[in-house]
Structures are given as structure tokens and as C-alpha cells.
């Protein structure tokens, strides 16, 4: 089947039940989405399918019905929001081991694309499924608040 990832269309020859994560990583070489749990419990594999953040380890290839965006293409796809999120993540020095961060960022971009001014409860609700074993959560919260503030004002925007 044909699969569009970060603006490039690929012909994929894989089992329809293969999770999108493994199509992206091992068939196509998009290694930004990570394998963490294989069960939709950690969020490290989060990508966007169409407009929605999804756990790619839980989505069979056959069910992919829209273009896929990974961390590598998120700035192209979501210019202003993604740029604000990435800038805030770096400004707050969020990452420790960093393995969950592509998923955290994809989830945060999805949140701010839908709700540009989320309160803390909305942030916690949206980010609940993204596990960080280093417990960078206080900085995740701070970075999302900063990104939201920069989107609301004339903050830095690259897109």
C-alpha cells in the first residue's frame, strides 16, 4: 500500500496487521518514533495521522487512513505550533535521557494545535499517556505553558 510520511509517499510491502511503528522504523527508516512498550502505555511512539496524535505501536498499517507526520516532519506540518513547542522544550532543557521526548513533543503539538491556551488540568489530561521514566514532567508542563504563551503573543515563531 501507499503511505505518506512527512510529505514523502512510499510504497510499502508489509502485513496489514504490522503496527505503523514498525513500518516507520524498520521498513522505511523513520526512527524518530520510539518503541517503548508496544501496548499503547508509554507514548514514545506517538505520531500524527492526519490531524490526530496516535500511538503508532497500536495502529495496524491497514488502518492508516491519512498522511503520517513524525517528529522529523512536524515543523513542516505544524510550522508555528511545532516551532514554539521545540523552542520551549530547548529553552526549558526538558530532556534527560530524551527517549520519550519525540512522543511528548508530538503529543504537545497536537494539544496546542487543538487548544492554544490549555490550563494545567488540560495539559495533564492530554499528556497523561506519555510516560517519562526520568520524570521530566515539571519541565514538560513548564515548556507547554511557555509554548502556549509564545503562540498567544508575538513570541518566536519560525514556521
Amino acid at each position: 500500500m501507499r503511505l505518506t510520511v512527512d510529505g514523502t509517499t512510499h510504497q510499502v510491502d508489509a502485513e496489514p496487521e504490522m503496527p505503523l511503528l514498525w513500518v516507520l522504523r524498520d521498513e522505511l527508516g523513520y526512527t524518530g518514533p520510539k518503541y517503548g512498550c508496544g501496548a499503547g502505555l508509554c507514548g514514545a511512539c506517538t505520531v500524527h495521522v492526519g490531524e490526530a496524535a496516535v500511538r503508532s505501536c497500536q495502529l495496524p498499517l491497514a488502518a492508516v487512513d491519512a498522511p503520517v507526520t513524525t517528529i522529523h516532519g512536524v515543523v513542516d506540518a505544524h510550522g508555528r505550533v511545532a516551532a514554539a513547542v521545540l523552542d520551549a522544550w530547548i529553552a526549558h532543557q526538558v530532556a534527560q535521557c530524551g527517549y520519550c521526548q519525540p512522543g511528548q513533543i508530538m503529543q504537545a503539538v497536537d494539544l496546542l494545535a487543538q487548544d492554544p491556551a490549555p490550563g494545567d488540568e488540560a495539559i495533564r489530561a492530554a499528556m497523561w499517556g506519555n510516560l517519562c521514566r526520568c520524570a521530566t514532567y515539571p519541565r514538560v508542563l513548564a515548556a507547554i505553558r511557555t509554548a502556549a504563551a509564545s503562540l498567544a503573543g508575538d513570541g518566536p515563531a519560525r514556521g
Partner: protein, 767 residues
């Protein structure tokens, strides 16, 4: 009152432990006597500079940590970055003296080599409290450090990287800088003393800038200039100021390649993908298997049997996982207690005089002090997983000439040697490429995963094989943190804590781990009581005894292993005693602490939180309470204060405060992150971090259990770092031990329920 050390005229009772302690001390003394002469000679001979092997023409490596060629400067950062930010700090330490932008140079982990030994890791392995700077303790530390040098132990762990490398990397930067200046002096006919350096260039007296890369060829012909002086702290431009981590942008944009993101190509083709399926009972054999169906599955290249399971090599990790599950396997049962209850019984049975392993604290007359009315309690610390979010993986390429290994490991030398042994190859033909890790918490001190990857790669010579453990294996088959029982007795008198005795009963993590890697060290295991026997409390009657349970199921390190278990028992029970005495948990600890930096961190955390005792007026959502705890581990006094509300939905963590004294804060931004992260790690695992056994199998298979905190549970965290300690220390672990007892005390204050066993969620609900 001090913990027992060699030569002290302690007042301990009983002959068993004293004899053991004495033998240990004699052994240490002998090592010192023999080691100084040998060590002095050997220490005077620096290890070979591994960068000189195969160094290109016109490239220079004036120290093992700096390589310069026409393309630019490369800094060697040998300590493994498992998320603690040590790669960035290593680069900044060198850059501080070398005058380069750490973000503008190349960073490499370097080869496995004795030049990168970790002296501090070995030095802290001796059974003396970190605050004990007595002659014998200091001498033993020096002897252990010399052993690390001689043995060339190239390892990361124990929060030792920063103290180990603080001087060494700055010296390396200074040597490289002065050697480059000597090269410039030679080329331009000026005196070295008239030259300065800035931003990767030597600046000539007339202001002309000569890039380091342009001086590489000349520098390669010179002996390194070693008569260098380190810059005073007042001249620092990076250290002590907020830094940007060198890996931050790559991690936030998905560009950083972890082990499973690599796709090397071998002479016979590109990367293949693999996984393993091992007996769910640790290290128990596989009786028989039938891989007929698996071998016929799409993409499968090989099914490889091991003693205790199988591995599958395929063209896609998911296909390898599917095929591994399709293998028909009969397993043998385990050779250890197969249930959680049986494991506790195994520990309980070791609480006998003949299993007594150490008594490194024995002050006053504990037996007499406990003759009257006493409080007694039993604490339990369960098996726990490390569960780094990146499952352990390794990529191995075998060719006739050599073996290449790509993996994230804290013990690259052991990993390389284990691969060589498994393949029957000479260690010199195995090249290990050390990678950044997606978390570790002590997990990457093991090497078997790498060995199994190599055995899978042997089935497909000439092609890289990338073996990734499933989350279920990572959770249930990675060797866990040891379980521990803490049996405590204590007495109070006149509103004060009068006596405390802790019996720590646990298997030896050091014995289990060291036997896997090399060989188990003789003598008592101080880690069974670490975080207990070494606390700077001047209790009148105070005893800490270790009981070593016989080795059973294999156990491993963790984040602050030992200290996390003992701090929970010791501080948890101390809170009980303070409550019984009617004293204030902060004031009574301050009265008992005899170590100024420890007093300072406790005072600071109380001040930050506006501490006025454990009880608070009830909030809108329910009763509130506060708890405080302290632990000195890894040389770092750390205190945690937690505030909770007992809501209708369970205990809610509202606020947390943490303080630690690491002597000198080199990067305040990352230090804050490490302390905050370590505290939250400790809180989360106190709540739900436990592995249980049934039929010898770990029951937890994924993050639906044993997840640590999620973002909706996280309290606000406020951190303050103090710098009064005499020595610079590392901060990856010390925040974890005091977290659980602080939370337990807060829950008691809010609800009256004492939490004496982790996971707390088994006893109370959490929101």
C-alpha cells in the same frame, strides 16, 4: 558518635561481627601496604593514550580526551550518558580550559581503554561513611582508587562521574591548550607565554587568530605540555553557570540516534532485526523447543537456541517478535523461591546469627537501651525493575577480521570482553561503539543482552543484527533490584530518640552482579546496609547490622540501590520514633545530625517549605499532611519534604521540596533536573514500583503496572542546591533515597496510616 571504622575502639558486643569486621580491615590494610608501593610505581606510569592508535597523519591527541585534526576538534567523553547529562558536562569541563564551544566541536565516547578508568567508582566501594575522612577510611579509598587505575575499570555508575572527572578533564583541556600554544609558538616564532586562546584558536600577540585545526599537524610532533595550572573558579566561563546541554536539540528534534535507531551496513547486507524469548524464570534452562513454524514465517532469517531460551533474527523487529512467540517451548522451573511469599520467607530465614554479614555501626549500648519499652517494626522493600524507556538493545556485526558492537552500556570493557569470550575471539578484535542510553537506572550495568545479540549475529555473518528486548522481557526478565526486609527496634526517652537498631536482611546485589561480570568480591557487602550504617546521626545507642540472604534469584543494581532500601527503613522508623517521642521531625533530626552539611540541607528544606510540623489544616479536598526525610548517599546529604492531601479519590501529592549539597554546582540547570527527577523517581516507585513472583515468573509485564509517576500525579517540585560540602559530588542518585520515607511520613500525618512496605499503593489508594 561515629560509625565503626578500623582501629576505633568500638564498644560493640558479640564476637561474630567484630571478627568479620576485623578480617575485612586486615585485608584492607594488607592491600594498602602492598598497594602503595606497587600503586605508586604504577600510578606514576600513565595509561597509554588510546587515541594514538591509528591516529591519522597531521592529527594530534595530546591527551586521551582531545583529538585535533584539520577538520576540527573532537572531545572524548567516555562516561556513559544515561540521561544524567554527563556527556555535556564532560564536554564543558574540557572546554573550560581548552577554550572551545562545546556545542561546536565533535563529541565521541572514545574506545574502551584503561586511560578512562573510574577512580571514584572504586573509591566509594569501601565500607566507610562518606563523611568519615579518618586516616583509615581515606587510605582505603586511596587504595581502591589505585586498584581502579591498575585494573583499568572503565565504567559509569554510583554518581561518580563528576567527582572522578572534575580535575582530570580540566587538566586534559589545559594540556591540549598549552600544547596547541606550543605548536603556534613554534610555527610563528613567538614565545608560548605571549599567546592566548579563544574560541577554538590560538591568538598571536598581534591579534591574529590561528585555528586549532590549523595547528594539529605541528602539535602532533610535540610532546604534550604538562606543566599546566588549572584556572581558578573566578575565571570560569561555563562551569557554575546555567548550561545548555550539548545533546538537547538532537533529543528534542528526534535526531539523536539511540541504539535501535542505527542501521549499519555489513559486507553481506544491511541491518537485520532480532529479539529474544527467554525462560520467564530467571536463568532457568529451556527443556526443548520447536521452531518449525517460526522459521517458516515471513522475514525470518534464523532462530537461535540459547541455554535458557531462543532468539529470532528477521528483517523487521515486529516480525522477529511475532516469530519468537510462535516458537513452541517447554521451560524448566526456577532454582529459587518461586513466589513472592517464598522469597520473603527466604529472607526471613536469613535473619540468624550465622547469616550476619556486617555491623558497621554500633554505638553506645543498644541491648541495654532496648531492655525496657521498645518500639518494633518491620519494613519491606520489594523487587523492582529499572525499566528504562529504551529497552536494552545491541547491534552486532561479525566479520572474519573483527566484531563491531553498538550499544549503550555503563560497562563497555566488560561488555566487549564478554562478547569476545562468547564468540571465542580475541578482545582486541572486538570494537565497542558506546551509545547514549534512553535511561538506565542501573540497568546497563549488565552485559548478557549484548552477548545474546552477538550470538544472534553469529548466525548471520557479515550482516549487522540489532537485537531489542521486548518491554515484557525488559520488565520481567531484566535482573531486578534486590528485595529487603528491615527489622527495627527503638526507644525514646524524655521526648527524644534514645536508641535505634536496624537489621537489614537482603541478598547481596554486589555478589550477584560482580559474579556475572567477573567474580564476586570476598568479605561483607556494605551495600546491604548502605544508607543505614553510614548516616551522620549522633544517636546515643545506635546499631546497624547486615544479614546476607543466600544467593537465590539474580539481583542487580538500581537508582541508589541499597541506600533507597535502607533510607526507607531507617528514616521511616525514625519518623515513628520521633512521633512516639512527641518531638518535631525536623528539630529532632537537627539535634541528632552531627555533620554540618547534612544539618544545612535539612534546615534548607524546612525553610523552603515553611515547615511548622507535619500537621496542616485540612484543605478543601481533605486532610493534609507533611513528611520529611534525610539520607546521605554517594557522599551527598539530601533531604526531601512532601505535602499530600487525602482526597476522596486517594492520596494526592501536592508539593515536594528537595535539597542536596554536592559541594559545587557545575551546571545549575541540569543539577535541578537531576535532583527533581531523582525525587520523583523515588516517589513514583514507592507508590507502584514492585515486581511480584508466581511460579518463578515476574507478574508485571508492562507499564500498566510499575510505571512510576505519570504527569497527572506529579507534585510541584522546588529544589535548592547547597555548596558547603568539602568535595564535589554527583547528583544522579542521591535524591531518590529520602523520597519514599518522606512520602510515608506525609501520608501518616494526613491519615494516621503507617506505610512500612512498598509499593504503598498496596496499602492506600493514590489519586
Amino acid at each position: 558518635m561515629r560509625a565503626r571504622t578500623a582501629g576505633s575502639s568500638g564498644t560493640g558486643t558479640g564476637t561474630g561481627p567484630r571478627l568479620v569486621t576485623r578480617r575485612r580491615l586486615l585485608a584492607v590494610s594488607a592491600a594498602v601496604a602492598g598497594g602503595v608501593a606497587f600503586g605508586a610505581w604504577r600510578l606514576a606510569q600513565p595509561h597509554d593514550n588510546p587515541l594514538l592508535d591509528g591516529l591519522a597523519d597531521r592529527a594530534a591527541a595530546p591527551t586521551p580526551f582531545v583529538r585535533i585534526d584539520a577538520a576540527g576538534v573532537t572531545l572524548i567523553t567516555p562516561r556513559a550518558d544515561v540521561g544524567q547529562g554527563i556527556q555535556s558536562l564532560q564536554a564543558h569541563l574540557i572546554a573550560e580550559e581548552l577554550d572551545v564551544d562545546p556545542h561546536a566541536v565533535a563529541l565521541e565516547p572514545g574506545p574502551v581503554a584503561p586511560a578512562y578508568y573510574n577512580a571514584a567508582l572504586m573509591a566509594e566501594g569501601v565500607p566507610f561513611a562518606a563523611w568519615d575522612r579518618g586516616v583509615v577510611a581515606t587510605t582505603a579509598r586511596t587504595a581502591a582508587a589505585a586498584m581502579a587505575h591498575v585494573l583499568g575499570i572503565h565504567a559509569t555508575g554510583g554518581s561518580t562521574s563528576t567527582p572522578d572527572l572534575f580535575d582530570r578533564l580540566r587538566l586534559a583541556g589545559a594540556v591540549a591548550r598549552e600544547t596547541l600554544k606550543a605548536a603556534a609558538a613554534h610555527v610563528h616564532g613567538v614565545a608560548r607565554a605571549d599567546l592566548t586562546t579563544a574560541a577554538g584558536a590560538v591568538v598571536l600577540p598581534d591579534g591574529t587568530r590561528v585555528a586549532y585545526s590549523a595547528l594539529a599537524a605541528q602539535a602532533s610532533t610535540l610532546d604534550p605540555v604538562t606543566d599546566v595550572a588549572l584556572r581558578p573558579a573566578s575565571a570560569w566561563r561555563h562551569l557554575g553557570r546555567p548550561m545548555a546541554r550539548t545533546d538537547m536539540a538532537a533529543k528534542c528534534t528526534g535526531r539523536l540516534a539511540y541504539g535501535a535507531d542505527l542501521r549499519p551496513v555489513g559486507p553481506a547486507g544491511g541491518t537485520l532485526f532480532a529479539t529474544v524469548r527467554l525462560n520467564p524464570a530467571f536463568d532457568a534452562p529451556m527443556r526443548h523447543h520447536d521452531a518449525t513454524a517460526a522459521r517458516a514465517m515471513r522475514g525470518v532469517h534464523a532462530v537461535v537456541p540459547f541455554e535458557d531460551g531462543i532468539g529470532v533474527v528477521a528483517d523487521n523487529t515486529w516480525r522477529a517478535m511475532q516469530a519468537a512467540e510462535a516458537v513452541q517451548i517447554a521451560w524448566d522451573p526456577p532454582a529459587y523461591p518461586p513466589t513472592t511469599e517464598a522469597l520473603w520467607a527466604h529472607l526471613d530465614a536469613a535473619h540468624t546469627p550465622d547469616r550476619r554479614d556486617s555491623r558497621l555501626r554500633d554505638d553506645g549500648d543498644v541491648d541495654a537501651a532496648l531492655a525496657g519499652t521498645v518500639l518494633e517494626a518491620e519494613y519491606r522493600v520489594p523487587l523492582a525493575a529499572h525499566a528504562p524507556l529504551e529497552p536494552v538493545n545491541a547491534t552486532v556485526l561479525i566479520t572474519p577480521e573483527r566484531v563491531e558492537v553498538w550499544t549503550a552500556t555503563q560497562v563497555p570493557g566488560f561488555a566487549r570482553d564478554a562478547v569476545a569470550a562468547a564468540l571465542g575471539r580475541d578482545g582486541d578484535t572486538v570494537v565497542l561503539h558506546a551509545l547514549p542510553a534512553g535511561g538506565s537506572f542501573g540497568r546497563r550495568l549488565e552485559v548478557r543482552e549484548v552477548v545474546l545479540a552477538a550470538r544472534l549475529a553469529a548466525a548471520v555473518p557479515g550482516r549487522p543484527v540489532q537485537s531489542t528486548w521486548t518491554r515484557a522481557h525488559e520488565m520481567s526478565r531484566a535482573y531486578p533490584r534486590p528485595p529487603q526486609i528491615g527489622r527495627l527496634k527503638g526507644a525514646v526517652r524524655d521526648g527524644r530518640v534514645h536508641a535505634l537498631a536496624l537489621d537489614s536482611i537482603a541478598p547481596s546485589m554486589v555478589e550477584s552482579w560482580a559474579a556475572r561480570l567477573w567474580s564476586a568480591p570476598p568479605g561483607p557487602d556494605a551495600w546491604i546496609t548502605i544508607g543505614g550504617h553510614d548516616q551522620p546521626y549522633a544517636l546515643p545507642h545506635y546499631r546497624v547490622t547486615g544479614y546476607r540472604a543466600p544467593a537465590s534469584l539474580p539481583v542487580a543494581s538500581w537508582r541508589a540501590p541499597g541506600a533507597t532500601a535502607n533510607a526507607f527503613c531507617h528514616e521511616g522508623f525514625l519518623d515513628e520514633l520521633i512521633h512516639a517521642a512527641g518531638a518535631d521531625p525536623v528539630a529532632e533530626r537537627l539535634r541528632l545530625l552531627h555533620h554540618a552539611p547534612s544539618r544545612a540541607v535539612l534546615q534548607a528544606v524546612a525553610e523552603m517549605a515553611g515547615w511548622q510540623g507535619p500537621h496542616l489544616p485540612a484543605g478543601a479536598d481533605g486532610p493534609r499532611g507533611r513528611g520529611v526525610a534525610f539520607c546521605l548517599s554517594h557522599g551527598v546529604p539530601a533531604a526531601v519534604l512532601v505535602e499530600v492531601t487525602a482526597t476522596d479519590r486517594g492520596i494526592r501529592l501536592d508539593r515536594a521540596w528537595a535539597t542536596a549539597d554536592i559541594g559545587r554546582v557545575l551546571d545549575p540547570v541540569n543539577a535541578e533536573a537531576q535532583l527533581s527527577g531523582a525525587v520523583l523517581f523515588g516517589l513514583g516507585h514507592a507508590i507502584d514500583g514492585a515486581l511480584t513472583l508466581a511460579d518463578g515468573h515476574v507478574q508485571q509485564r508492562n507499564f500498566d503496572s510499575h510505571a512510576g509517576l505519570r504527569i497527572d500525579q506529579v507534585p510541584t517540585v522546588e529544589v535548592r542546591l547547597l555548596e558547603t560540602g568539602a568535595r564535589l559530588r554527583g547528583l544522579g542518585e542521591p535524591g531518590t533515597p529520602p523520597a519514599a520515607p518522606a512520602l510515608a511520613a506525609a501520608v501518616f500525618a494526613a491519615t494516621g496510616t503507617r506505610l512500612r512496605a512498598m509499593p504503598f499503593a498496596d496499602t492506600v489508594d493514590f489519586a
